[in-house]
Symmetry: C2
Subunit: 417 residues, 2 copies
Amino acid sequence: MTGEILCVGTELLLGDIINTNAAFLARELAALGIGVYHQTVVGDNGGRLREAVELALSRSDLLVMTGGLGPTYDDITKETATEALGKKLVWNQQAYDRMEAYFARTGRVMSENNRKQAMMPEGAVVFQNENGTAPGAAMESGEKVIVLLPGPPSEMEPMFCNQVRPYLEGKTGQTFLSRTVHLFGIGESAAEEQLRELMESSHNPTVAPYAKTGEVLLRVTAAAKNEQEAKKLLAPAVEEIQKRMGPYVYGVDVGTLQNAAVTALRQKGLTVSTAESCTGGGVAKRITEVPGASQVLQAGICTYTNRMKAELLGVKERTLQNYGAVSERTALEMAQGVRIRTGADIGVSVTGVAGPDPSEGKPVGLVFVSVSSPWYEQTVQLHLARGSGNERERVRHLAENHALYAVLQAARKAPQR
Amino acid sequence: MTGEILCVGTELLLGDIINTNAAFLARELAALGIGVYHQTVVGDNGGRLREAVELALSRSDLLVMTGGLGPTYDDITKETATEALGKKLVWNQQAYDRMEAYFARTGRVMSENNRKQAMMPEGAVVFQNENGTAPGAAMESGEKVIVLLPGPPSEMEPMFCNQVRPYLEGKTGQTFLSRTVHLFGIGESAAEEQLRELMESSHNPTVAPYAKTGEVLLRVTAAAKNEQEAKKLLAPAVEEIQKRMGPYVYGVDVGTLQNAAVTALRQKGLTVSTAESCTGGGVAKRITEVPGASQVLQAGICTYTNRMKAELLGVKERTLQNYGAVSERTALEMAQGVRIRTGADIGVSVTGVAGPDPSEGKPVGLVFVSVSSPWYEQTVQLHLARGSGNERERVRHLAENHALYAVLQAARKAPQR
């Protein structure tokens, strides 16, 4: 099955917003085994939208459209797509009732305009919108399928996951199941090299790498008649990857590094405090992105001057004088200091040169990350500069990754209480 | 002049990366007065790429392409585009020399493959790549123009700003100049309502609003024969907006909120420290995004428990017992405490309920932001929940905005030393 993605919206054409919908849908369709060879963006213009729909239907089996399902006169996606398949819009009482319930729940008043949103293509499968007003829909004509989705990602993404994905699995007659293996400490191309043979020889499940800044994810996807069969296919492949990539695997389906770290801390009933210099609070911020972080984070102390490192964290004046703020010794004393002063089980610290300029005669990208606990203590020296692009942002993000990874390691090494 | 954007790359089609290039180019082309009605993504496939190029040339004057300029055999953008315009690729010694210099500068070894990158379309304008290896190019045939740009944003964006924009200004015979007016404390639709008449009546300069989470930017763009003329057109329009939107305007061309705050602090020679609860270090992190923040930030203390608020910031036990951690009184004592304990001129604090669950019987989205200095002290109570989407992330980001805005206000109100 081939599919394509057509995003509708003047705000996309003008660059007011970034098209995250296309990336989300591309990933999801790929995971369903649907080949996507085109993504297009057009505005809310009848003629150009019609041309784009017709072109898409001429070359693909499935067209997934987002945006232009709102209540105003310039929202014409539904009307245009319905016409292209030679269908009519009809009143859908259920869609209307659900919308009314949504307005009542969020305490807002429904306007006359919203009635337009309850008109649905005849014979369509209607997708309820749990997070907004515009329902989605799927309609079929011969071999062709059009799926209509709302534009805001907060409405589109849950609608896709909960309703469209099962619908598409029904069409393909297959269930798709994925597991994600998370790697740290190895680059994408090195990981690919080690797994090339496996990736090339494995067709079901498929193995595909995804690179995030400083991390590599391997997505293993199986297609089967049902979930149980899919799980059976997945297990040995995931095991094989864990065997081959052992030291780099930090989890399977663990979400983000900060998620993995918070989960490990909670499982062991441990707390952590952070001491940051060049990351400026970024490690604490990422830990507190995870709901429930309040159970594990004691405090985060960001010290941007030598005086503050001494006063708030207890780093020795002599250490700062002899080795400088960016040094292994300072990093260790920061981690120890924040742990002891806040009464946490684990202290983690980052100190380094984020740039744009060198500091203390030390180069941009030199970073020390230290973790301290009664059972485990380690400091690593990192060189995170690449020589181009926004070094400051990149160095800081990678340094945060290493600190979160150090917390994860310390939590896992903790003795069971 | 009409233009369109064609981004080439399998990693875009698979959703491995988000297409920020399309949004960047869309904004830039709109600012140059070039109407963009289509954005397309295709992979590194000869047939489909050729079709996409031909379709684009059939309906637009200008085609801007990104990606596929690398050294490997599946990078075919340059070859395909050159052929579509009926041209040939020829050896470009200057492009080769520059590439060689780039490799020498970054201490890397040039491979035989890279020679391919020095082949340029005959008669093309070549754009040097300051941040990578692939040069860009512009080539013309009759009324049609194709611009080729590298895929990585860190290479593409500076190349566009420094070389492609002047080239396109030359083609349109006009210079475009923009100024950005930054608003805080007013929503996009309310700002649009107040400025609708001005936006509709003003054609040169044009006035267009851009919404970021919790902020509104107004981009004022003038077209003229030269920079001086453009400046003359811009000045009265910017003045008029400042008059109408007075209390909401916090700056013109100031970059981000954190940039404006750090600049104001530096101008007055002031320092700041942060005390954060629900934002978890996000305010400190944003301040330290600005190079030179080390001159203004003393420390950031993130306290996630009542005990830490008392021990590290000196919030009174009685205050926490009587009013709770999320209260006006606690916010004020946090701001005062961090200021006094770190010896900073200004202390700023955030405490609130980011969610997903209520806390202390207080609802998600309730946030207090306090700023304290010897000359100015203020605490605001905010309700930042919307009832849908990722509330936690949104509440935290908006709370950070308010804290940064409070620092900016305090710095501006400071007496000159």
